[in-house]
Symmetry: D2
Subunit: 362 residues, 4 copies
Amino acid sequence: MRKKLLISTGGGDAPGLNAVIFAVVTSATRKGWEVYGSRAGYGGLLDRDDLVRLIPEDVEGILSQGGTILGSTNKGNPFCKPVENLAGEIQIVDISDKILDNFNRMGFFCHIAVGGDGSLDIAHRFAQKGMPVIGVPKTIDNDLEATDRTFGFDTAVSTATDALDKLHSTAKSHDRVMVVEVMGRDSGWIALYSGISGGADIILIPEIPFKIESIYAKISDNELHNKHYSIVVVAEGARAEDGEVISKGQGEMGRSEVILGGVGEWVADQIRQRLKKDTRSLVLGHLQRGGSPTTFDRLLALRFGTAAVRLAEQGVFDHMVALASSTMTAVPIAEAIRHRKKVDLESDKVRTARDIGICLGD
Amino acid sequence: MRKKLLISTGGGDAPGLNAVIFAVVTSATRKGWEVYGSRAGYGGLLDRDDLVRLIPEDVEGILSQGGTILGSTNKGNPFCKPVENLAGEIQIVDISDKILDNFNRMGFFCHIAVGGDGSLDIAHRFAQKGMPVIGVPKTIDNDLEATDRTFGFDTAVSTATDALDKLHSTAKSHDRVMVVEVMGRDSGWIALYSGISGGADIILIPEIPFKIESIYAKISDNELHNKHYSIVVVAEGARAEDGEVISKGQGEMGRSEVILGGVGEWVADQIRQRLKKDTRSLVLGHLQRGGSPTTFDRLLALRFGTAAVRLAEQGVFDHMVALASSTMTAVPIAEAIRHRKKVDLESDKVRTARDIGICLGD
Amino acid sequence: MRKKLLISTGGGDAPGLNAVIFAVVTSATRKGWEVYGSRAGYGGLLDRDDLVRLIPEDVEGILSQGGTILGSTNKGNPFCKPVENLAGEIQIVDISDKILDNFNRMGFFCHIAVGGDGSLDIAHRFAQKGMPVIGVPKTIDNDLEATDRTFGFDTAVSTATDALDKLHSTAKSHDRVMVVEVMGRDSGWIALYSGISGGADIILIPEIPFKIESIYAKISDNELHNKHYSIVVVAEGARAEDGEVISKGQGEMGRSEVILGGVGEWVADQIRQRLKKDTRSLVLGHLQRGGSPTTFDRLLALRFGTAAVRLAEQGVFDHMVALASSTMTAVPIAEAIRHRKKVDLESDKVRTARDIGICLGD
Amino acid sequence: MRKKLLISTGGGDAPGLNAVIFAVVTSATRKGWEVYGSRAGYGGLLDRDDLVRLIPEDVEGILSQGGTILGSTNKGNPFCKPVENLAGEIQIVDISDKILDNFNRMGFFCHIAVGGDGSLDIAHRFAQKGMPVIGVPKTIDNDLEATDRTFGFDTAVSTATDALDKLHSTAKSHDRVMVVEVMGRDSGWIALYSGISGGADIILIPEIPFKIESIYAKISDNELHNKHYSIVVVAEGARAEDGEVISKGQGEMGRSEVILGGVGEWVADQIRQRLKKDTRSLVLGHLQRGGSPTTFDRLLALRFGTAAVRLAEQGVFDHMVALASSTMTAVPIAEAIRHRKKVDLESDKVRTARDIGICLGD
């Protein structure tokens, strides 16, 4: 009988997910294994309808497509799932045993779980209960210490840079300040990369609490040098040094100044009021998660996928595939999800930003 | 002595402005004329520094670039310009005589004014005072009755469609409703074209006051047909039939429900509350004005530019170049700016939208 | 019983084919009809395996994709099909009766045939035999007199223009002449549109037999004006005035100078030899047929598709849908395929090319 | 007096050159230095007209543009330059002393030479004569051992992948084999990366002499699996194992089978003849060198540029900037240009290609 492999994708969308699935299905099939995809996270282990047999014909052409053919909607944590009982009350139940049981009953020898730190944490807990799990990291924010890069990030940065390219001409034609808010709740990777590549004047990242005065100074300095427009890139997690900026939706905390439009809108407001410059803000939002993955992300996702299948062959479970320099490695999942990667302020990229005159808000 | 031609660009940014300039400079130079560009609208007729001689070498390569090398920032209406007097008071003065005087003194025989209806109205008033003016229409919204098409529109639609393409994968992967607000304060052209091309389920345009219940019904119908995500495209000027939606910034009118995020955010809120669907909204904003013009817009802009130069040669002033079917024509400016073009609800495009199942909110 | 509609796509590939299929399937289904797609042209009427039931779920998302889900490979003309007999000899047989018979037996009430003039001619012959046929024109070359535009053309032009944009920087950096051969065997539409939009210096089209001396003169004139690079766009069907250029593969005609690389390579060779300029040539080829259709082509294809379904409803057969100004019309197929559309040398577009200084080889 | 820095770009075009110039000009100006650009390689040291002062305003916006504002046309090797004497004979002369002399006379303290191995070799020879030179590597082929990556490569790969994406739909719609020849005379990096990312079935690289029979086998195997089209990516330097393929233009060597169209055309011919499949070939050529650099290449080019300026400050001459893992380093030029980087056949990327079923011709 042929070996049976399960693959699932969990959590947020990232360009390259389909390339991972493509790689797993084609390479595992070539090893003589059968591959099954679980829709909606662990859904395929609860409902047969959410389990789908995948052969190479099924994945033909998906390599270049955004999204995931498996649907990554997280149907919650199986270890503490809210369930409505007969009395209509919500109870938290642990359905992990049932899932593990189904996994074994269906005869899978391995589960490749593609997901962010939440999904990987769940995968690790299943591994501890005996499920042979291999993780594939998925974070568009590139904020995982254990791997040099994650797929999706290059595409997100490209989309953001492309938007900045587009805004340059309109900003310049109208002597405007354009403030663009990009993804990055905890780390400024997308803001930093797209800002440098997109010719930003100012880049605000969570790693550097910003002084609003530095922003005014940079824009004024531009004016002095006959550059009457400025581009500001703001990571959604960027914050002012004096804590003045509070995040969207925190109105209930009793602060008078609630940022309804996010930090980008707040920064734009400040500039507008103080410098009397025509200032517009834009939130890129979900555009950054969509679209066909870049070549870089496709290749990285394919490498992750084939590496995961090789780990499955070698029986190295409870590990996550990772990129170290230019080599594929395996890192224990528990360890991998422990450390987030922040922008290193001493790194060459940050220095490059400063050298070409970009203001980082400090 | 060689004849001297003046060109200016006024008002908002639109992809193709540089192609018009390119066409005017190259074709006028080939007729043996000298071309001068006026920066900042009529600025070049007030300040020599804002007047720039343009030869073909200066415009090499600008054809494919967004924005305008002349800067289109409107420095206000010369017929009623706010000026600060010595006492620090703001007075409204008419500086049109001075501008006309400078125009004549510098020896220009024609002024090609590229602009929206505001700029064209000013151009017409100068024409009435004796300035030989030729207008080139510029409205990214494509809402001018006098011409079949305006440049910039195809690029704006392409940018919006591209965004919709990107959002499909993420909406589908997460069973989400995505609401995208596009340009169109008075007409729904961009929303209609991009919505149809981008595979939207629902398109809301100013020409059709929408019933929020129709939107709920369409999304629910999608669910019934196993399509668990929906894409909603909303023109910024779309309004609910019962007038419930009021526009951003109209809070002073005493309505309790001010839409801080625009109509798109309002629609998203309603869907979220009523259908309990994960719903996200996005405002494309200035992205739609930026970027390299599409082939269609480049060609149209070049045709407008050369046609304007031909009108100048023929001495047909106070007219605007226009596209009628596939021919260039000339329309009196006064007449041209009088009629806005709304989406014709009986047109083939609207019928196409309905035929393929798109809900138009009615 | 529900009415059954057949759709087929024939001949060469064109971006927008899938959008036509999308429009036909969704709009016909909404009328309560069943839609079937015939793979490989009329293949579905010969082999049940090549007939596929299409419901809206099947066409979800194909609107933005190039190619055709039905496969357009022409399996030959059913009216004179080469068939190998038992003796191994090739015989020409007429299998049209069999196809018509199957069409009727399966109970189809209408066949929407999407194709070029070859496919439409066959469709017309079937119509004459009694098959209720509606044609949808498909020619990437835009060379059909009966319709203002065909889908695929705008995408092809965009791809060619994009290539020209890319070549500018490298041509300029190296003081090179770049010769780009684009599609257009009989008409110069793609060359003309992409050449104007892409900033070409010289455009050679079949409608204007070119003088090689005019090409040399333009390149030399560029040098005089300090422009040390030139871009030449050549339609594959362009020919020298003195008939010196003969087409690829016509070596058997006894000419010594056979163009192995096509007319573009020939032109490049002449320039290289005569002007001693570093000259490179490139054939864009099939790139022009691929990729996601532009917004313009998507919209046009969708309009064609829904218009065809409306004609089916009205029972207007043996007609082809067409675009006249901005309206959908129906033209008798026999008439539609009779006239090819050549570039009108007196048209505004040609004049624009000349006005901005483009050499058209004459 | 302010320190004066010279920058030059030499050899072939690569996306990112302008980003290097941008970084050098902005970061050096911020150190209080004056920057001069030398047009046409060392031309600025021979002719004052080819020397241009560069201030930040001059490089605004060039970061995102392809090509080089300095013109990279190599006007030959100054150490052995062919010069015509009065008698009309060509003599080889060494003008390096004159160049060095001018360099010193103009008071430059450092020369940043951006170029390929040819240009870097010349730079090193100048360094040995006493010119303080810093090298910035430029090879679109990514074939330099001394640095992990070079700019331009990611853009070239993206362009090639984009072309493959476009060809998929047309290949599939017509059951065709498409053979695409990409850059890579000595190494298969572009072919390998674009082929994997672009969903190729077969990738032929110089590092693996190919067996034509393997190609036939893979295409036939595709047919067996109901995939009636195949995509073949061929590096221009790929060769058949038995030496049957000889390069373009080597006809004089007496071989009967000269490949007029390059190895791609040859492979296409073989497939066409042997398998009777409709097979088309395409040479991407200079498209790969053009266009706006990707985010990756922009960032890398900016890092190289600022790193070079930092080396200039530190006085580390006769060295080339390089990327090692994620850090900028300096490598002696002489050493750097000695080793070409071939595709490592044991690398993870090659294994990935094999794992997902790509035939590498062996």
